[in-house]
């Protein structure tokens, strides 16, 4: 894993340039340009707010803001994994012609979506301000949660993108699994809504549930993230990333030959 990360560091210029380019490419030639960063989550929020806040009448106060806090990091995760799945298998042009560490490609996807997430944070804060919830001292824990999610997202994206080189239908499976995953992650509801006997299992089995509730704790409830839960997820994420790095190490040659 160390070698894997060191290579990433060596190629940070490439990573940075590809990320920049990815961001620019996303908005180049579109009328709204950069504003698309906000439009997509806002629309989603509006849809969910309408369905669950007004039609289903959720009793969570400031429901739309609550959704937004959990939705943004979820979008970072799901978009990274979803579009990261095919990132290696699609870049035949690069992998078969130039020698460079393949892990740059999934990392670029994760980094691009991270930037998107960070850019939409001011919008979230503004929205909270509208309902009178401003970030307080608990925001100090934000970088920690962010880092945990980064490691977890990188790990998942690495594994999926590496496996997708051999199993090309994985990307379609992943797309469906992500939809399911979204609904078992407490973005639209609070974990307490899960029946008691399953609640523990629910939080243990789904790292994104722990991460999401941590964000909601920081920005919505003004409390510190559950330290033990977060530590477990952090540890698990590091292990996952280490495994992913090994998978990359082993399959490196296969990439050039198989893509």
């Amino acid at each position: 894993m160390i070698r894997n990360l060191r290579e990433l560091w060596q190629y940070r210029a490439l990573l940075w340039n590809l990320t920049q380019r990815e961001l620019k490419a996303r908005y180049r030639g579109s009328a709204l340009g950069f504003l698309w960063t906000f439009v997509n989550p806002l629309l989603l929020m509006a849809v969910y707010g309408l369905v669950f806040g007004i039609i289903q009448r959720s009793n969570i106060p400031h429901y739309t803001y609550f959704i937004f806090v959990g939705l943004l990091p979820w979008l970072w995760f799901s978009t990274s994994v979803g579009s990261g799945a095919s990132t290696i298998s699609d870049r035949r042009d690069l992998l078969t012609k130039v020698r460079f560490p393949a892990q740059v490609l999934p990392t670029t996807v994760v980094a691009t979506n991270l930037v998107n997430y960070l850019l939409s944070l001011p919008l979230m804060v503004g929205l909270g301000g509208l309902v009178g919830i401003w970030p307080d001292v608990h925001a100090l824990a934000f970088p920690v949660v962010l880092l945990v999610q980064l490691v977890f997202t990188l790990g998942v994206t690495f594994v999926i993108s590496a496996l997708n080189v051999r199993f090309r239908d994985l990307q379609h499976i992943v797309a469906n699994v992500l939809t399911l995953w979204f609904f078992v992650t407490p973005v639209l509801y609070v974990p307490n809504a899960v029946p008691e006997p399953y609640r523990r299992l629910y939080l243990i089995a789904n790292p994104m549930a722990v991460i999401t509730t941590s964000y909601q704790g920081i920005f919505y409830e003004h409390r510190w993230p559950h330290p033990r839960g977060l530590a477990v997820v952090a540890l698990g994420s590091v292990v996952l990333l280490a495994i992913a790095a090994r998978v990359f190490e082993r399959r490196r040659e296969e990439f050039a030959e198989l893509v």
């Binding site: 490439l14 590809l18 380019r21 012609k97 130039v98 020698r99 040659e253």
Partner: protein, 417 residues
């Protein structure tokens, strides 16, 4: 000591799985179905395809090394092994020095971005640092001769402009070892010359160059050493002139074999009565008499590639089965383009069988591929056995062109002016 060599390959073999080459990918679904049915993976050892077999090669530091071979002979695989994109199945690849590979122009170019922006990503991919790129930016733009187009999106470029930009970036990487895969022919003639000059500059600067090319002229002019790969094996390695000669001879041989690919050469059996099966357009007749065992020979035996001055012989067996009246053999020599070069008719004896030999002490033909057509019949219009396009040979003469190579002599005497 390995330090005198920039690249050393020792007993390198590389094989690919057939499924890899056909780009067949497993799916989770099919794996799952197989697992449920408890079947084994259908992976026979025969599905391994060797691309390189036991190749040993060393490229001395500061030299230009050329690699020739037909398509699919393993040249590109070898370059990719040196680059590190592939790793050898067995054997070792050692590279001493910073390497830059021009395997494909414009790796990582994004059509929506300007030339200038693409120089950055492409340069980084090729191994330059941001600072290096910034420092050489103007130089690269100037070399590409794109002018104001440099700030336009790459998708608006013509293919020539695209190639020029890509080549400009690639040659400004400043590597110690440069790998080039037949890309010197990009762009127009002017740019081609510029590229060649840039390569010459690399050579003079003492860089090691490994070049894959089909252009034998380039190979002879620019390379200090050369090697010829055929079907993954190293055939000849050494002086470019020798390598090119060996390669030329083999290609000519292959061309002739291509001309005659339908011939069961020397194997047309002598069958009483029925005769050999007719091949529409290539062999036909009543087969009341038959020509068999047609063979083209040089001085020492069967030969298919001749020099203009070489002796030439054609052998055939004649046999009569039915009623044949005043048989005669017409022989025509054509170029592979169809132009008749020479035709002659010879009367045959009234015997059961005969051996026929045509001898030419000096062939006297120019560079090209030729076909010998034989027609066994008689003046009355009977057709017994016609061979068309079945027998061929090639002439390789580098110092002249045209159909004929007559015996000639120059005498040039200086006179007082």
């Amino acid at each position: 000591m390995s330090t005198t060599n920039a690249i050393v390959l020792t007993g390198v073999s590389k094989s690919f799985r057939k499924s890899t080459i056909r780009r067949e990918h497993t799916t989770l679904k099919s794996e799952l179905v197989r697992w449920l049915k408890r079947q084994k993976r259908p992976e026979a050892p025969s599905s391994i395809i060797p691309a390189l077999r036991n190749v040993s090669l060393s490229v001395p530091r500061g030299r230009t090394f050329g690699l020739v071979g037909r398509n699919g002979s393993g040249k590109s695989t070898l370059l990719k092994l040196v680059t590190g994109i592939y790793t050898p199945t067995s054997g070792t690849v050692e590279v001493h020095g910073r390497i830059s590979a021009l395997l494909e122009l414009g790796a990582g170019f994004h059509p929506d971005f300007s030339g200038r922006e693409n120089i950055f990503v492409n340069g980084i991919i090729l191994g330059m640092s941001r600072r290096e790129i910034r420092g050489r930016m103007e130089e690269i733009i100037e070399f590409s001769e794109l002018g104001d187009f440099i700030d336009e999106p790459v998708r608006t470029y013509s293919s020539g402009m695209y190639a020029r930009l890509a080549f400009a970036v690639a040659t400004h990487v400043d590597p110690e070892i440069l790998l080039i895969d037949e890309i010197l022919s990009v762009g127009d003639e002017h740019f081609g010359r510029k590229s060649a000059a840039k390569m010459e500059e690399f050579r003079k600067a003492g860089k090691t160059i490994l070049l894959v090319t089909h252009d034998l002229g380039t190979l002879q002019r620019r390379c200090d050493q050369a090697a010829w790969l055929d079907a993954g094996e190293l055939k000849v390695s050494g002086n470019p002139v020798d390598v090119v000669a060996a390669y030329r001879a083999a290609v000519a041989e292959a061309e002739v074999a291509g001309l005659e690919q339908h011939v069961p050469r020397a194997a047309v059996p002598v069958q009483p009565r029925s005769g050999p099966p007719a091949e529409p357009g290539r062999r036909w007749g009543s087969f009341a008499a038959e020509l068999s065992g047609v063979e083209i020979r040089g001085r020492d035996g069967p030969q298919h590639v001749f020099s203009a001055d070489a002796p030439f012989r054609l052998l055939a067996r004649y046999r009569r089965y039915g009623a044949v009246e005043a048989p005669q053999l017409e022989l025509s020599l054509r170029t592979d383009g169809g132009t008749l070069v020479w035709s002659t008719t010879e009367k045959l004896p009234d015997s059961e069988a005969a051996t026929l030999t045509l001898e030419m002490p000096r062939l006297g033909l120019g560079d090209g591929n030729y076909l010998v057509d034989l027609s066994l019949g008689n003046a009355g219009g009977a057709v017994y056995d016609v061979h068309r396009g079945l027998h061929g040979f090639a002439v390789r003469a580098q110092d002249s062109s045209g159909l004929l190579a007559p015996v000639h002599r120059w005498s040039i005497e200086p006179t007082a002016g």
